[in-house]
């Protein structure tokens, strides 16, 4: 009897070990509450399919550094959730299963073209499946703009005029909050400014263009804005707190700011006092124009890797995450910050059924999502991917140039020259 039982138990254990599949999933949602949601989704997925998902959270700024390390150690995941840069870096080195990612996009049939174009590979496939996206722009105190009769900060002229007019350092209030640290945030803000002036660091043929007049002009404008900005080199959390704390009239931020502005509990996590009027007093400029209009955003993709041994399981996981209530549950982690890339989901009432999204209303949400179709990035030009840009981003060339411009009081020309030489040095190897 005991022998039989042992045999049965062994058989069950062995079969469980053979049939249990495990996939590794890298994601960039490191906040505790978001990790809880992802764990819950992984548990539901495991209950439904028997596939275990090994979750690995990685800080957004560090994912580019983790990739080569994992390549050497042979610990690359089966599926990665990450922004355009890491997905491109992996893709350009041949790590992405472009066919399978393309098949998933095709199976869904309703992924916005504007966002999937940003993940397209030269072979016609896709480096990743666009999962969620945000748009960056200027969030501003619309009531102050109205009082002073200032135009919405969508053009260089309007932005600078408003920054000058509203800057009041004697009372601890500044024209705007501008990042000047050597990090990704600075590069994102500068990207929008440069693109609206027609400036790009690298063109399609790989020419480095930091010392062009358009680029120098962009550095000049950035430095000019610095005069009216809140002191400090400023990272993301300080920028957010500064705006919520009523320390500045404008802040460059992504749509991730929406719940911080609208929800009392979220806002009180950041600052002491809740401002119930902040939603109605805040405007959003979702594009910028100097010689041409440009909007900036980030698409976060889900990419299945070539090196995966469990591609079926990986495909099931991606489809699970991007379907129905699972998808909505994920997007509601950061309402406004995470916008759906599938049109059918964007129109679902279930998606809009959320305290933050309700406060902004369907129209404003639609406007934000529609901006996704015109998002521009340094990594893309006329439908082509510029892979070298991910090296410059990984080394924070733009962030470091701006950081030095303010710290050493460099002229725009000096800054451009430094960035030019640094980029040439990095790309010459």
């Amino acid at each position: 009897m005991v022998k039989k039982l042992t045999v049965v138990i062994l058989a069950v254990l062995v079969s469980a070990m053979v049939f249990t599949q495990t996939i590794t999933f890298w994601h960039t949602q490191v906040e505790t509450d978001r990790q809880q949601r992802i764990r819950a989704l992984a548990q539901i997925f495991e209950a439904q399919t028997g596939i275990t998902v090994n979750l690995v959270p990685i800080e957004e700024n560090e994912i580019l550094e983790q990739i080569p390390r994992a390549v050497q150690a042979g610990t690359l995941p089966d599926v990665v959730e990450g922004g355009i840069s890491p997905i491109l870096l992996l893709g350009s080195q041949g790590f992405m299963d472009t066919e399978l990612n393309a098949k998933i996009i095709e199976d869904f049939g309703d992924v916005y073209e504007g966002v999937s174009r940003l993940m397209q590979a030269p072979d016609g496939g896709y480096y990743g499946v666009p999962f969620h996206a945000w748009v960056q722009g200027i969030w501003y105190k619309a009531n102050l703009f109205e009082e002073r009769d200032l135009g919405a900060p969508t053009s260089w002229y309007n932005i600078l005029t408003a920054a000058k007019a509203l800057n009041d350092p004697a009372n601890g209030f500044y024209g705007l909050i501008l990042p000047k640290k050597a990090d990704a945030y600075t590069e994102q803000v500068f990207s929008q400014i440069a693109l609206s002036n027609g400036a790009r660091p690298i063109d399609k043929d790989g020419n480095i263009l930091f010392n062009t007049p358009e680029m120098i002009e962009s550095f000049r404008f950035y430095k000019e804005l610095g005069k009216y900005s809140r002191p400090g080199f400023t990272a993301v959390p300080e920028a957010l707190n500064g705006y919520l704390n009523n320390e500045a009239a404008m802040v460059f931020y992504s749509t991730y700011i929406m719940d911080d502005i609208a929800v009392e509990e979220v806002q009180k996590n950041r600052v002491e006092h809740f401002d119930p009027k902040l939603v109605e007093n805040t405007g959003f400029a979702n594009f910028m124009v100097n010689i041409r209009p440009s909007s900036f955003g980030e698409v976060v993709g889900l990419g299945i890797l070539n090196t995966s041994d469990n591609k079926d399981a990986a495909e099931q996981w991606v489809k699970f995450l991007m379907s129905g209530s699972n998808y909505i549950y994920w997007l509601h982690m950061a309402p406004g910050g995470m916008n759906p890339t599938r049109s059918s989901i964007a129109q679902m009432d279930e998606f809009l059924d959320n305290p933050v999204l309700e406060r902004y209303g369907k129209d404003q949400i639609t406007t934000i999502i529609s901006a996704l179709d015109t998002v521009e990035r340094f990594e893309f030009m006329e439908g082509e991917i510029i892979e070298e840009m991910s090296i410059l981003s990984g080394n924070f060339v733009i962030g470091r140039a701006i950081n030095r411009m303010f710290a050493n009081d460099w002229t725009p020309q000096q800054t451009a020259q430094w960035a030019q030489e640094e980029a040439e040095r990095l790309l010459s190897d």
Binding site: G94, A182, A235, I391
Partner: protein, 294 residues
């Protein structure tokens, strides 16, 4: 020294037994220390491929040539040497001073002694965040204090200014590591016989003379060893520097960037590691002979 063959059977058995006892340690050291070191040296002669299926390419001394002609490398090398000098001297002076103070009797000494250890035992990441917080422009408590004292402008962003990064990191490292020095020196101080001081008192020696001629000679070897240990640790120091400010471009940071950012050059990074290793070995062997008199 006797040859193994010439030993008596009993001694032979003893020797074999001894080898058996140490073999696990020898094997483990071989596996976990010697292998990575040798593999690293091996890699430094290759252009390491990141694409699966493409083999590494042998390039001879190319990586070393590239490295030794790169001004960024020499710049980082100089910064690292300066960093080691400042932090070792600084933490030894602070540690010595605090140890001398804590060697005196006063009420509540036990608590103060324990509190002093805090910077050393607290996790690096939490102390880094604390430093970044207290030195924030406008709202940082230390910034406000320093500006009230008229030392610094309240709008100054000390930590994120690339021009200050090196100084901030050096100060942080001294603050973080002096308790280790203090602990070692204090334990040595407590074992110095009081008889010496009493004899000196009878001879009419003043405080400075007692320190110069009794305390310091007694501390010579412990300070010598501390300089060696802290020198080695700070020469390779990565996490403290990197977390507080990436702009303090010491060699380990330069190595990390070569190895792990953008499109990594692992061959060059391995060459840097090898150069660091050789420099360190030379410095240590000179130091051990001259200062510690081994």
């Amino acid at each position: 020294m006797q040859r193994f063959r010439e030993l008596s059977p009993l001694k032979k058995k003893e020797a074999t037994f001894g080898w058996k006892l140490v073999s696990p340690a020898v094997i483990l050291i071989g596996l976990f220390i010697m292998y990575p070191v040798l593999y690293n040296i091996y890699l430094s002669f290759f252009e390491v491929s990141l694409t699966p299926g493409v083999p590494n390419k042998f390039v001879g001394f190319q990586n070393y040539r590239e490295l030794l002609t790169d001004p960024t490398f020499w710049n980082s090398f100089g910064i690292t040497m300066l960093f080691v000098l400042i932090t070792v001297v600084g933490s030894i002076l602070v540690g010595l001073g605090v140890a001398l103070l804590m060697n005196k009797e006063f009420p509540g000494r036990g608590i103060v002694r324990a509190l002093i250890l805090f910077p050393y035992v607290a996790p690096v990441i939490s102390t880094v965040f604390a430093w970044q917080y207290v030195l924030m422009p406008l709202n940082g408590p230390l910034t406000i204090l320093l500006s009230n004292l008229g030392i610094m402008d309240v709008t100054k962003d000390l930590v994120n200014d690339p021009n200050n990064a090196f100084l901030v990191v050096s100060f942080y490292s001294i603050w973080k590591n002096f308790p280790f020095i203090y602990l070692m020196i204090l334990s040595r101080l407590q074992s110095i016989s009081q008889d010496y001081y009493e004899a000196a008192d009878i001879d009419g020696a003043n405080g400075w003379q007692k320190f110069r001629h009794i305390t310091l000679p007694e501390l010579y070897y412990v300070i010598g060893s501390l300089v060696l240990l802290r020198g080695i640790w700070n020469f390779y120091k990565f996490e403290e520097v990197y977390l507080l400010s990436k702009e303090a471009r010491t060699l380990p940071i330069y190595l990390y960037e070569k190895a792990f950012t953008g499109l990594p050059e692992l061959g060059v990074a391995a060459a840097i590691a090898t150069v660091l290793f050789v420099v360190m070995m030379v410095l240590i062997s000179i130091y051990v002979r001259k200062v510690l008199k081994w």
